[in-house]
């Protein structure tokens, strides 16, 4: 245990990463605030999201200081979600295609807004 604690990061490291997380969160918010349009919007959001996630998992959750066996046990299983995302997207596209084909074109929004 004592050996492990000597590998603990300094508090100054936490504070630096903390500041960086604020900057990244502010960047995410400004993507929404300045109404950046697709596809740049999605690219920026995913990049900023993954950067924040990486910083939190690696430094704040100490994964860079853990043994490789634990790191792999944690990081490899979530890769399965990529399969699930692909299946979810394929199924959603199939459903909307079927709806557009058999239910007719998408209903306009404007009349609904007037009804309010």
């Amino acid at each position: 245990m004592t050996q492990e604690h000597s590998q603990q990061p300094l508090i100054a490291t936490y504070v630096k990463i903390w500041g960086l997380l604020f900057v990244l969160a502010a960047a995410s918010y400004s993507v929404g605030y300045f109404e950046v349009q697709a596809p740049l919007r999605q690219i920026l959001l995913i990049a900023l999201m993954l950067l924040q996630a990486g910083l939190i998992v690696s430094v704040l959750m100490h994964l860079v200081w853990e043994r490789l066996a634990l790191v792999y046990a944690i990081l490899v299983p979530p890769l399965l979600l990529i399969t699930l995302i692909s299946i979810g997207a394929l199924d959603g596209l199939y459903t909307v295609t079927t709806r557009n084909t058999f239910f007719g074109p998408p209903a306009p929004v404007a009349p609904e807004a007037e009804r309010r």
Partner: protein, 240 residues
């Protein structure tokens, strides 16, 4: 002839590094995760399960958003807040994000001071974290209330696709529950720190094993995970 002194084979073989250490650890006897406190492994396995729970929710949200024919509500307008006659998009959500990110930093400070055996500072930072977490849940309650008053329901809403309400209440509700549970455990840990349980290595209430300051780190894993999930929700639900 004298008996040779027993030699520990473990000491004479250099410890493997890199990928070899991974293979050695996994294929070794009894314990795969050497020198890792058991409770930390358990917390990580729990969080791994939670990754799949939130992953499934967000993928379900993606699926209904792709497949609906009705346009998705414009989130920048739905979550806008009027301050001094000006509509600022996502103001409350932005404040919530900053509060949760702040609580992440304060939690890390608590972990750092815990390992320095600084009982008072650890207690202080845990309590600040709990306060920030509680205010996050409070702001979420405000957000839910205003949306319910605007007529958003799990089965429909006046702004667009009916699936918006179901996704919103399920995902943010489940996340808010996690934050609430986190606040409760922060307060339990704060009591333990205040009583000096961790320095005196007093056993916890559900185990005969002796506690130490690593329980603060293990709790911080949960807390950081809650912030991690929020990062994903903020990007794919609120800002997409």
């Amino acid at each position: 002839m004298t008996q040779p002194a027993p030699v520990s084979s473990a000491a004479s073989v250099p410890a493997p590094t890199g990928l070899n250490s991974l293979i050695a650890d996994i294929s070794s006897d009894q314990r795969a995760f050497k020198n890792v406190p058991w409770a930390k492994v358990m917390m990580w396995i729990f969080l791994l399960g939670d990754v799949f729970v939130f992953g499934s929710f967000l993928i379900g949200y993606m699926n209904v958003r792709i497949s609906t024919q009705v346009p998705w509500p414009h989130t920048a307008e739905v979550f806008a807040l009027t301050v001094a006659g000006k509509k600022i998009p996502m103001l409350l959500v932005a404040i919530m994000t900053f509060v949760l990110t702040s609580s992440c930093g304060t939690m890390s400070l608590a972990v750092g001071y815990g390992y320095q055996n600084d009982r008072r500072r650890t207690l202080l930072w845990i309590l600040i974290t709990a306060l920030l977490g509680a205010s996050f849940v409070g702001m979420q309650a405000i957000e839910w209330t205003s949306l319910i008053h605007e007529g958003v329901r799990p089965w429909g809403n006046p702004m667009g696709a009916a699936q918006f309400g179901a996704s919103f209440f399920l995902i943010t509700g489940f996340h808010g529950t996690h934050v609430t549970i986190g606040v409760i455990f922060l307060l339990i840990t704060a009591v333990k720190v205040a009583r000096g349980d961790l320095e005196n290595r007093r056993p916890g209430f559900m185990t005969g094993r002796k506690g130490g300051y690593e329980i603060v780190e293990i709790l911080s894993l949960y807390w950081h995970f809650v912030d991690l999930v929020w990062v994903f929700i903020f990007a794919v639900f609120y800002l997409w």
